[in-house]
Amino acid sequence: MNPRFLQVWHKLRSVALKRLPAISDILPVFAVITTMFYGWSMVVFLWKLPGWLYFLNIGEIAGIFAIQLLTNLIESLVGLLFLLAFSMALPSRALKDVFIVRGSMATLVLIGSMMLFLNRYVSVGSAFGRNLFGWMLGAIVIAVVLAFLSTRVRFLSVSISWISDQLIIFLFILMPLSALSIIYAIFRFFILG
């Protein structure tokens, strides 16, 4: 391989790694993301379950659960990647140095706004879809403002740090479950299927 290319690659890599937050900072934010995505899905899953029991067997319900966990894992990772990309793109003091607080706050506002949108979408009907662009734009603005404020207002920064720290416990449950669901899906759909 071209040594010049390798040199550039290594330099880019070291800059990128330097701009990435520490793992200990990433985990609490990832915990917030996963809790919100997995939590929403679990609520809908439990809401659907009594109906499924009428016509699905336990294996089929487990299959749906596995697909749900896989989907949640993917959307959580994508969400985290977005934040990390911003962390690399923005100056360190904007996000990387305060990743837990601002990352968690942005996550709470953005995913929360999506949940609220879906709630309104169901209540009002598909006509509410016309508000999608404005809604998300508003959510992004609010997320930026609150993320900025969260490091300035001590109460907010302490609260968010505490919440995100507490939510890490869910990673110990959700990640092994997701790993099991990957194994299940491989067997169910590719080996046994």
Binding site: G63, I64, L132
Partner: protein
Amino acid sequence: MSQFARRDFLKLSSTLVGGAALSRILPAISTLTGQKTDRPNVLILVFDTMSAPHLSLYGYGRETTPNLSRFADRATVYYSHYSEGSFTTPGTASILTGLLPWHHRAINSNGLIRRDLADNNLFRTVGDEYFRIGFSQNLWADIFLRQFNTDLNLHLPASSFSYNNPLLLGDKALNDPLPYLAYDDFLVGGLKVDTPYSGSVTLGMMAAAIEHGLKLHPELKLEDKKKPPFNGYFYFQNRTVFQGIYETLMRVASSEQRPYLGYFHLWSPHEPYAPQDRFKALFQDDLKSPQKPKHHLVDIAVSRQELRRYMLAYDQYIANVDAEFGILMDLLMASGLLDNTYVVATSDHGQLFERGVHGHGSRLMYDEGIHIPLLISAPGQVRRVDVYEPTSNVDLFPTLSAIMGIQSSPVRLDGGLLPGFGGESNPERSIFSIQAKENSAFQSLRKGTFVLIKGTHKLILHTNYPGYEDSVELYDLKVDPYEMKDLSLVDSVTAKQMKDELLTARQAADQLNTKYSGQ
């Protein structure tokens, strides 16, 4: 009760591959028949939402049912046959119990048959002398099969013979609808009656964005020609389902010494209409139908243009289902399975395309919504018999019991033997049909639409709807089959007589129910 798992079906399928192959090996299979009985098999095919006025068999202007017509050449055909309700729950419960909805009380969406009457079902009455098979793709009908679970020898899961998922897994998970279910019914879901919330936040948002985008730019919507029929829970192909029925019957006939009673409740031609490509080309005509004004009981009316569009798709889909029915009958006949089998083809209710309504289960009970087909082919029957007297699906229970040589149930049934099968011809017989889903199943029926058909007259009674507290419509179906001219004022005597009869019958039913529910 045993469940015939999809896995079993797959194993079976692996030995019996495809209709063409089957037809080549049929002579060999027919020798597998292990039945040793003088009693006939009974095969009941219920086509959900099949409206008799849309069948060319009954004179419809579009050639929708050439195969049913062919089948009719060796069957008894009922021309004035009615369902007891305008949607699946009451209609199906009446087929299976021989009782009117105000007696069996499965009147609400997703309702159950009154517990003390649930034993009075066709399968229990027939008993162990028959091998009893139940299958319904419609989950509201499958609820009854679950209610009768212990009375069935084989209860096929509703998702049997369902379609695999070509998007996610290709051929790797043949016959596996699970990913479809997981994504379409759950994770994407969204704004469906039974899944308002998407199971995944991001997929739900994406679905909302796509839907909004398609509203803005409808030209971007891709015509998904291969989209399979969908029943709200799973996707399937009619060909696979009919093939599955055939193979199930073959399996039972070859392994059971008893005759069978098979109840197969098929989703099609229920909406969403999904005719295959070759049927989408049909009926590019200018079929004239009477312009019926929007009914005041309809809140949000569907435009006439939309109704015509729906009707065209419905007619095409009926033609599609009819073709599959024809293939099934040919296979059964070639295999010799029809030699000792009564075949019953009917529906649980019809479908409305008029007065602002598309669908069924609304407050309107015009002919399209409750007038359904009934054909019964007896073993060895070679000529067609036409019956014009009014009949109803409650008549199936006593008629089939008699055919199977079974003493009918100890409960007094609302139906009687069908003309042509020992029943007396009575053109003035009273036929009831009701839509009372806005009432509690345990209380007296006050709010609803109640229909009495007697002779050529049809009375529609609306009670306790806003603006329709006590309103009647009267039609003479012989001279006015499209129900355009309300005779309730012109012929007030007939209207009053029929209304009195209807209310007396409803009151008697309510009293029986009150006694049961301890009010």
